[in-house]
């Protein structure tokens, strides 16, 4: 076989083989995605099939009950809203302030690195560990009421804060130095520059990160299990310290019931939870597209 004879049958066969393996590889890649997404589709279809008939007004406005036909999600939804309110009120200001400090003011010193390392690690600590912290500190040491939205919100706030700090830092980093220099140029102090110019420009990015962090907190069950939010609560909570359940916990509790009617209830509650999460993520994407400036 001459070296440059590309038309010899042997060379053609080899090229065909290589092209076939190229196509095969591409198909495997596409197949991986399709398989993952079909799993998602299967999950959604099964939940819809089981739950959509259970979604009516009495389900949305009722509270937990031992009778599957009268049980509803409003009690758990209200608990979730109260818990999320506590989480947001604590983690958002703290997260934003910490992000500002670390990005704009922190001296490059050893102990600042400690703060950064601990924030990055906290973001990766399993959520159940935060539940253990909440149980040991908030309930056993400080004596706060068990299974209340207050303790749940505090625990989730500690978990959400690192997420907000990290996304906040990225948003602040993305504001170009020219903005800061223009403010310094007309005599603004460093604090004025940060709060009047950098923060407003970084805010859409911070809000996007916050909503995503809150969505994660809303779906979280394990840490709340640790602080005792699994009690049977038949009335919606009327305050931050009264016993309450939250949506994911309600799903968990119903999933344990033997009565067949609760299969429908569980799936319907999952639909409600997913609608909330989808709405939050939708808002985050909308904010990002609408306000994000590409510098």
């Amino acid at each position: 076989m001459s070296k440059s004879d590309w038309n010899s049958p042997e060379a053609l066969r080899r090229i065909a083989r290589r092209n076939a393996s190229e196509r095969r590889f591409k198909m495997i890649g596409l197949g991986a995605i399709v398989l993952s997404l079909s799993f998602l589709a299967l999950l959604l279809v099964i939940m819809l099939k089981n739950g959509v008939t259970g979604l009516d007004w009495s389900f949305l406005s009722g509270s937990d009950s031992t009778d599957a036909t009268v049980a509803g999600v409003w009690g758990a939804t209200k608990g979730s809203l109260l818990t999320m309110a506590v989480t947001l009120l604590l983690s958002f200001p703290m997260g934003v302030l910490a992000a500002i400090y670390l990005e704009e003011f922190a001296p490059r010193k050893r102990w600042i690195e400690w703060i950064e390392v601990s924030i990055n690690n906290l973001a990766a600590v399993p959520s159940i560990i935060f539940g253990l912290l909440g149980l040991a500190v908030f309930i056993n040491t400080m004596g706060m009421p068990r299974s209340s939205p207050l303790v749940g919100g505090l625990t989730l706030a500690l978990m959400t804060m690192p997420v907000i700090v990290i996304s906040g830092r990225n948003a602040i980093k993305a504001v170009p130095p020219s903005i800061r220099e223009a403010a310094y140029g007309i005599g603004a102090s460093k604090v004025q520059t940060t709060f009047h110019h950098v923060l407003p420009l970084a805010l859409p990015g911070i809000l996007t990160g916050t909503i995503i962090g809150m969505a994660r907190a809303l779906g979280e069950t394990a840490p709340l299990l640790m602080i005792g939010m699994r009690a049977f609560v038949a009335t919606p909570p009327d305050g931050l310290t009264s016993p309450s359940s939250v949506l994911p916990m309600q799903i968990f509790l119903w999933s344990d019931e033997i009565d067949k009617g609760f299969v429908q209830n569980t799936s319907a509650a999952i639909i409600v939870l997913l609608v909330f999460l989808l709405a939050m993520n939708g808002i985050a994407i909308y904010l990002r597209n609408k306000f994000e400036v590409r510098w």
Partner: protein, 457 residues
């Protein structure tokens, strides 16, 4: 009650102080450059002088007030009739406090009734004293702040210093949380290790904390089966699912998909990461586990159980796919373009370039991503709680039930609560192990990623 009300008053005072100081500072303005700070900064300076000392005073008083009330009530002659047994005494006092704040509360001890009036009186008296103290401190602070308003007073510098202190305090919260986690885990685990030897805990192979039988408590707390279950489900089964699917998805999305296709597929893949774990757990228990049980029966297993390691691991793997995919995505993007261009120029096909050039070059980044994925999988709780089962056993059969560290933590801490039994405390020891392992995985992975980025810069 009074103490809560006085907080509102203090904030009202702060607001008034803000306007008063700003108004006064405005009067000082005589033209460009006549003042160091803008009037609003004088307002903030004054408001801080009112709020900060008053809030400190409020905090201190709320901390010492319960003790003062207690001692006054016990000094009261009616307290002499109370039971001396400390347990009952505590219950009576707690009931009396409940009755004092809410007359309709239920009381099981008749003695608590007599304490209600003294408690109410003491609460009123000390509340009033505290409220007066807080107001006096606020007014004094405000007065001092007001006298400092001058044209050349550097109010802005002062306010900015306070802002900096606030920013620093917020960042220290993260360190405080870390210390809180480490401190509480180490403390509670220390109590556990007083009863059970750490070596028996880490190397023993028999886990049955519920049984109080057996002469040696050490024999019941061998955690190796839990570690094995955790590794088998989270690091083996889940990764067998997640690594190929996640890696191939990332390769397809970054190397083959057109930008339009990517724009749609990538967010859809990320939805998988956004679904709450309790939903996955329910899906695993409702759909996947029965399917696996039927499959196990069809290949000849005797009495396969509904809960199985395979069901939990499989669903967990699916949950991790987007995570592995985005980590692989980053690792592939960090490989310099020149490397794949060189390979393509030599005549290799795209898939050959990916397999022989891109993947080896991106390997450290991908390995680090897998480590992070494992650390996430072994800390995952709800899926294993709902689908993996409770039996601690050392087995390599994926159709058997298996338990994990997180499952046992949940198991130990929900149910009857007697807080200081070794059974409950073992949850904290398990939590400590979990925390240390995930921490090591994360630190090593982040270091590898950093090294790997630097290598191509």
């Amino acid at each position: 009650m009074i103490l809560t009300g006085v907080l509102l008053a203090v904030f009202g005072l702060g607001l008034v102080g803000w306007f008063a100081a700003r108004g006064r500072a405005r009067l000082l303005y005589t033209g460009r450059g006549s003042m160091h700070s803008m009037p609003a900064y004088h307002g903030w300076h004054m408001a801080l002088w009112i709020l900060v000392p008053a809030l400190i005073a409020w905090g201190v008083w709320s901390a010492i007030m319960p003790g003062l009330i207690e001692s006054t009530v016990f000094a009261n002659p009616v307290a002499a009739s109370l039971p001396t047994d400390p347990m009952t005494l505590g219950a009576v006092v707690a009931e009396a406090h409940n009755l004092a704040s809410d007359p309709s509360a239920v009381a099981f001890h008749a003695e608590s009734q007599v304490l209600v009036e003294p408690i109410r009186a003491a609460q009123f008296r000390f509340g009033l004293i505290g409220a007066l103290l807080v107001v006096v401190v606020a007014v004094a602070g405000g007065g001092y702040g007001f006298t400092r308003i001058r044209a050349d007073f550097r109010a802005r510098t002062q306010v900015e210093r306070a802002v900096m202190a606030l920013l620093l305090a917020a960042s220290l919260m993260a360190v405080l949380t870390t210390f809180g986690i480490v401190g509480s885990l180490v403390f509670e685990a220390g109590l556990f290790f007083k009863d059970v030897s750490p070596i028996a805990f880490l190397t023993g192979t028999h886990w049955s904390p519920a049984s109080t039988m057996g002469a040696n408590i050490n024999d019941n707390f061998g955690a190796v089966p839990l570690f094995w279950g955790t590794i088998y489900i989270g690091a083996i089964i889940a990764m067998i699912v997640a690594i190929p699917l996640g890696l191939m998805s990332a390769i397809y999305l970054t190397q083959y998909a057109t930008s339009n296709v990517r724009k749609w597929l990538k967010p859809m893949l990320e939805i998988l990461a956004g679904i709450p774990t309790v939903v996955y757990g329910y899906f695993a228990a409702l759909t996947v586990a029965p399917m696996i049980r039927d499959f196990a029966a069809s290949i000849g297993m005797q009495n396969p159980s509904t809960e199985s390691a395979l069901a939990a691991g499989l669903v967990m793997g699916v949950m991790i796919i987007p995570f592995v995919s985005s980590m692989a995505d980053d690792a592939l993007a960090a490989v310099p373009r020149a490397m794949s261009d060189g390979s393509l120029a030599l005549g290799s096909t795209k898939s050959e370039t990916i397999k022989k050039v891109l993947l080896p070059a991106a390997l450290p980044g991908i390995v680090a991503g897998v480590m992070l994925a494992i650390s996430r999988a072994i800390g995952e709780t709800m899926i294993v709680v709902m689908a993996a089962g409770a039996a601690a056993r050392l087995s390599a059969n994926p159709f058997e039930t298996m338990t994990t560290v997180t499952y046992q933590i949940v198991q130990m801490l929900t149910g009857d609560q007697e807080f200081n039994s070794p059974k409950t405390l073992s949850a904290f020891a398990l939590g400590l192990v979990l925390f240390v392992v995930t921490l090591i995985l994360n630190i090593v992975a982040l270091r590898v990623v950093k090294r790997f980025r630097e290598a191509y810069e």
